[in-house]
Structure formats: structure tokens, C-alpha cells
């Protein structure tokens, strides 16, 4: 069910890009960032995506379109596969000191609401610290935790949970948003 929806969404957007001549920024959806072994990785590896990304490479770094990173169960450490994404955002923020971002920390529904609120903050703060180490001015970075209260997907299975254990990057200045483009 979920798998179908995600894949469908993705192909629709790829199609839309093809039709409009790929005028917008890259199209790496959230799914490309998945740490889950499931179907979504096949989508991320599809040549269509690579082609689109290559075309846009001159305009902006497609990694910047990736604004969600995922975490292991009850963990707040940054997984190695998301470092490139965070490095890209760090580079952008260093180059655009007028831009600022908010990290939203989220959890899956397992465990208590209060412990998860704390864990979500820990995830957001880990990402924030990582960007500071990359040279971003702390004044450009904010964090907020939504715990398990704002899931990306509803459901009680491992695939859903892996999508909900996440930190989302939200650009708060208008210029930042414009340059980053709209994410799926």
C-alpha cells in the first residue's frame, strides 16, 4: 500500500520534470535518503534520477534537496550515508550566512511520548552540532523536537517506523528556500 503510493508519487514527479524540461531543481525525494533496504532504494538508484541530477548539477547541488535524514531505533547518531547531505547543507549555509535553518527532530511511536520528545531533540541537536563542526555559524541553526507527535507516515510496522525516525531540515529565510527549491 505504502510502497505503491511512494513509488507512484515518485514516478509522477519524474514524469512532471521530463515534461517541463527539468526546469526545477533536482528531484531527489526523501525516499532516496532511506536507510531501509526496501523498495525505495531501487527508486533512488534508477537512472532517471541520475540523469535529472546531472542536468541540474550546474545550477545547485542536488544533495540540498534532500532535507530529511533518518536514524536507527532509539539512536541519535548521524548515519554515515547522510554525511554528504549534511555537508552540502553546511557548505550552503557557510556560503549564504543570511540563510538559517530549523532542525525538527522526530521519533517513531515506540516508547513513551515524553522520552521520545527528548530523543527527538537529541536527534535535532546532533545534526545541529555536526553542522557547527562543519563551520556553520550557530546563529543560523535552530532546533525543535516534535517527538512522536508528527509522524511522516501512519502505521505500526518497521517500514513506517524507519520513515518516522528522522530529522527534517527547514530553511527559514525566503532566499534559502528559493535556492533550495521545493522538496517533495
Amino acid at each position: 500500500m505504502k510502497k505503491m503510493t511512494i513509488n507512484k508519487l515518485f514516478s509522477v514527479s519524474v514524469l512532471a520534470l521530463a515534461i517541463t524540461g527539468c526546469a526545477s531543481d533536482g528531484v531527489v525525494s526523501e525516499d532516496a535518503a532511506t536507510i531501509d533496504e526496501s523498495q525505495t532504494q531501487a527508486v533512488a538508484a534508477s537512472p532517471a534520477v541520475d540523469m535529472v541530477n546531472n542536468e541540474d548539477a550546474q545550477v545547485s547541488n542536488p544533495l540540498l534537496d534532500q532535507t530529511t535524514i533518518y536514524f536507527g531505533y532509539d539512536r541519535a547518531e548521524i548515519l554515515p550515508e547522510f554525511k554528504d547531505v549534511l555537508n552540502a547543507h553546511a557548505k550552503f549555509l557557510v556560503a549564504n550566512p543570511q540563510s538559517s535553518i530549523v532542525f525538527e527532530g522526530h521519533c517513531d511511536e515506540r516508547g513513551t511520548i515524553e522520552y521520545n520528545l527528548a530523543l527527538g531533540e537529541r536527534r535535532a541537536n546532533t545534526v545541529k552540532s555536526y553542522l557547527i563542526v562543519q563551520g556553520v555559524n550557530p546563529g543560523q541553526l535552530n532546533s525543535v523536537s516534535f517527538g512522536e507527535e508528527r509522524p511522516a507516515l501512519f502505521g505500526s510496522d518497521e517500514t513506517t517506523w524507519s520513515k518516522n525516525r528522522r530529522a527534517e531540515i527547514r530553511y527559514s529565510s525566503a532566499q534559502g528556500q528559493q535556492q533550495i527549491g521545493n522538496n517533495l
Binding site: R110, G111, T112, L117, A118, N125, V144, G147, E149, S156
Partner: protein
């Protein structure tokens, strides 16, 4: 906006606001006491409440009583003069309740009841209570309380209230509601587009503290239930969460992360003096007061996974309480601190259930089994029952289990999800 959408919105909204709760008993004790509560005689306009039925349901829900169905009774006596004890012995009833209801002056009713020991043919309780038509349900719960206490030696908690949060499936609307302990007479005290959680009663039952998770983050409010006045108590940078009233009602324990990570604080609600209680780089959260008012129980990740600790507010000394299991959180106490009740996961990958631990002997017992992702345990003020939230048939519902694990019931709602139960204090 077309009319059609408004109609749809109205239907959805009304379906959601009538999230009234019902009760399904799933397990009682094998030795439940047989009791007959005879229907009350009443001549006049139909009454808004069936007092005898409410009493039967209260007693049944405790798990310790088996109430005889009115259809199985041989007679329906309404006073001692009409009682033939041998009939009730024949029906194997240990106890009998007969009652009558009379109209008194100015819309008032008088309810008189007697509780009999069938075997000894002896009256154990007799009382006359008066009420208007809105108070008939209160009278029924008070009679249940008196009968329960007379026969078990434990104070009844049927007259108490519960608070909980209802939400629609898309989580776009949250209602903080209070209701009778049987789920009846639901009243919404706060409706918000933001998530509401961790409701905590003041010891006098007049105020509720809770967390509102706004776009900018979590904030703690205290609301007067009667007036609806809500007061912002904590909006520091970072997390403001997990409020818990002190036993004297003057202080609030809560969690702030303004120092960089979540720490336990106590704020005096009168002087607004803040006291920092914990200082550790791990997560410290979910403070709960010990009855003495000098200690807090809390959840901490300092050992690598969540476990329960106790801290002295006098000396600052911290002691670890739980060792069994990979996840123990959200501590609550029952029976004057003899039992610790919590969310428990025995090992990684195992289900989350509610467990109790006898603090004098250190024994941990898992209480729940039929529900999934059990959380938010809250203990009745008489220390007998634990209400909690769980997943059941893909919905969030409330359920209850006795501290000894013998009695279980589900509290499904007609629509939407129900979460975060908080059992209120005795009101007198």
C-alpha cells in the same frame, strides 16, 4: 466553500466530538463476588439515568463482583419488607442491594438503598442520598463506592474523573477531555490543532497541567477546569514538558532542556522559584512525586537505555530503581508507594507492556498482554487499577488492568484515537 463541504466537515466534527467511551471487560477474577442490584421502582417521567444499572456496571468493572442480570432475578423487591432471602440464596447471591427512588421538592430526588448480607440475612449498609436529575449519576457512583468499600475494605474510586486526549486519524485536531471513570459525561476542556499530552491533575482535582506542542516547540500550561482559564507556566528555549503536581499542589515538577539537554526541574507555582534537580548529559524525563513530597521518580537514559531512578529533593542523592528489562519508563506509584507501575520492554524487539514492581520485594510483573504498544499508565487513587493507552485493532484506545494483573478491561471509543489517560484524585 460549498455547503457540501460544510456538511461533511460538520459530520466529521460531530462524529469526532462524540468520542464517548464504552467499556468492555476482558478479564475478571475467578472468585468474583456474586451480588444482585435490584432495579429501582420509580413511577413518573422516565429518569435520565438508570441508577441500579450504573451500580451494576461499576461493580462489574472492578472485576471483583459478578452482578446478577435483572432478568435472572425471581423478584424485584424495593425495600427490606419485600425481600425473601431464600430466593437470593437459591440464586447463589452473596449480597443484595435494594433501592428506591422518590421525587422530593423542586426537581430533587431521594435515593435510598440498603445492602444486605444474604447468608446472614443482615443489613450491612443503608443510606439516603438526594440529587437533582444531573446528579443521579454521581449518586450511583457514590453508592458503588460505599458498597465496594464495605465489601472489599478498599475505598471505591468510581466517583473519580479521568482526563484523556482524543484525536482524529490525521492528527489535525486534539481535544483534552475529562469524563467519569466509566467514560460517561465527557467534557472537552481544551481543543487545539496542536498535540496535547501529559495531562496531570492537581491534588484537589481543580486544575490540569499539560503540554501543548506548538510549532515553536513544547510548552507547559496549567488550566483551571471550572473556568477554563489557562496559564502559561513554562516556555523556555527547548523542551518544556512532563508536568507533575506536587502532593501539596504548590509545585510542579517538569522537564526543561534550556541547559542543552533534558533535565528535571521543580517550579514553585506561587513564587516562580525554579530548582534544577538533575544534571546529566543523558535524557532525564517523566518526573513523578513520591507521596512524601521530598522525592521524585523519573526516567533516565544514563545507563544507556531508559530506566527508573529516584532522586531526593533534599540531598540530591540519585538511586536506580529498575534493572529488569531494556526499557522502563514513565513511573507511577500505587498503594502509597508500595508498587511502581511503568512502561516496560523486557528486551529489545519485545513488545511494550505495562508492568508493576513490588518495591518492598523488588519483583517485577508484566500486567498486560492483549494490547500493543502500551503506554501512559495512570493509577486510580485507591491504587487498585491502572488505566493506560495502547494500540488495539490499529487504533489508540484506553484500557485498564489491576495492579495485580487479575482484572482487565478495554475502553474503546466510537471514533478517532484516545491517548494519555490521567486518573484524577478523590474529589472529597
Amino acid at each position: 466553500m460549498s455547503l457540501r463541504y460544510w456538511c461533511l466537515a460538520f459530520i466529521l466534527f460531530s462524529a469526532f466530538t462524540r468520542a464517548e467511551l464504552t467499556i468492555e471487560i476482558t478479564q475478571g477474577v475467578a472468585s468474583a463476588i456474586p451480588i444482585a442490584v435490584v432495579p429501582m421502582r420509580w413511577q413518573g417521567q422516565p429518569l435520565p439515568e438508570d441508577v441500579a444499572e450504573i451500580i451494576r456496571n461499576d461493580l462489574e468493572r472492578s472485576g471483583h463482583f459478578a452482578a446478577l442480570a435483572p432478568d435472572d432475578m425471581l423478584s424485584h423487591p424495593t425495600s427490606e419488607a419485600d425481600v425473601y432471602f431464600r430466593d437470593w440464596r437459591l440464586l447463589k447471591q452473596d449480597y443484595l442491594v435494594v433501592a428506591s427512588i422518590k421525587a422530593a421538592t423542586k426537581g430533587q430526588y431521594q435515593v435510598r438503598y440498603q445492602l444486605f448480607d444474604v447468608f446472614n440475612e443482615r443489613e450491612l449498609l443503608a443510606q439516603t442520598l438526594s440529587a437533582n436529575k444531573h446528579q443521579l449519576r454521581d449518586v450511583a457512583h457514590r453508592i458503588s463506592d460505599a458498597i465496594y468499600e464495605q465489601l472489599t475494605g478498599i475505598r471505591g474510586a468510581f466517583s473519580t474523573k479521568i482526563a484523556y486526549v482524543t484525536t482524529n486519524r490525521t492528527r489535525s485536531r486534539f481535544n483534552l477531555a475529562i469524563a467519569d471513570s466509566d467514560g460517561a459525561r465527557e467534557k472537552v476542556v481544551l481543543s487545539s490543532k496542536y498535540s496535547i499530552f501529559s495531562p496531570s491533575w492537581s491534588p484537589d482535582g481543580k486544575r490540569l497541567a499539560y503540554v501543548l506542542l506548538e510549532d515553536s516547540g513544547s510548552k507547559v500550561y496549567v488550566q483551571d477546569i471550572a473556568t477554563g482559564d489557562k496559564q502559561l507556566v513554562s516556555a523556555h528555549k527547548g523542551i518544556n514538558s512532563a508536568p507533575a503536581f506536587s502532593p501539596d499542589g504548590n509545585k510542579l515538577a517538569l522537564v526543561l532542556s534550556k541547559d542543552g539537554n533534558p533535565e528535571i526541574y521543580v517550579v514553585d507555582l506561587n513564587t516562580r522559584h525554579w530548582l534544577r534537580v538533575t544534571n546529566h548529559y543523558a535524557i532525564d524525563t517523566e518526573p513523578n512525586w513520591m507521596p512524601d513530597g521530598d522525592h521524585l521518580l523519573f526516567t533516565s537514559g544514563r545507563s544507556g537505555n531508559p530506566q527508573i531512578y529516584r532522586v531526593s529533593l533534599v540531598s540530591g542523592f540519585i538511586e536506580r530503581i529498575t534493572f529488569d528489562g531494556s526499557y522502563n519508563a514513565r513511573p507511577r506509584l500505587a498503594q502509597d508507594g508500595r508498587f511502581l507501575v511503568m512502561v516496560h520492554q523486557s528486551a529489545k524487539g519485545e513488545p511494550f507492556h505495562i508492568a508493576s514492581m513490588d518495591l518492598t520485594r523488588g519483583l517485577l510483573q508484566i500486567l498486560t498482554a492483549d494490547t500493543f504498544l502500551d503506554e501512559s499508565p495512570s493509577v486510580s487513587p485507591n491504587g487498585v487499577m491502572v488505566m493506560y493507552a495502547a494500540k488495539y485493532n490499529k487504533r489508540s484506545i484506553l484500557a485498564a488492568v489491576s495492579v495485580d494483573g487479575d482484572v482487565r478491561f478495554l475502553v474503546p471509543s466510537q471514533s478517532g484515537d484516545v491517548r494519555e489517560p490521567a486518573w484524577g484524585p478523590y474529589l472529597d
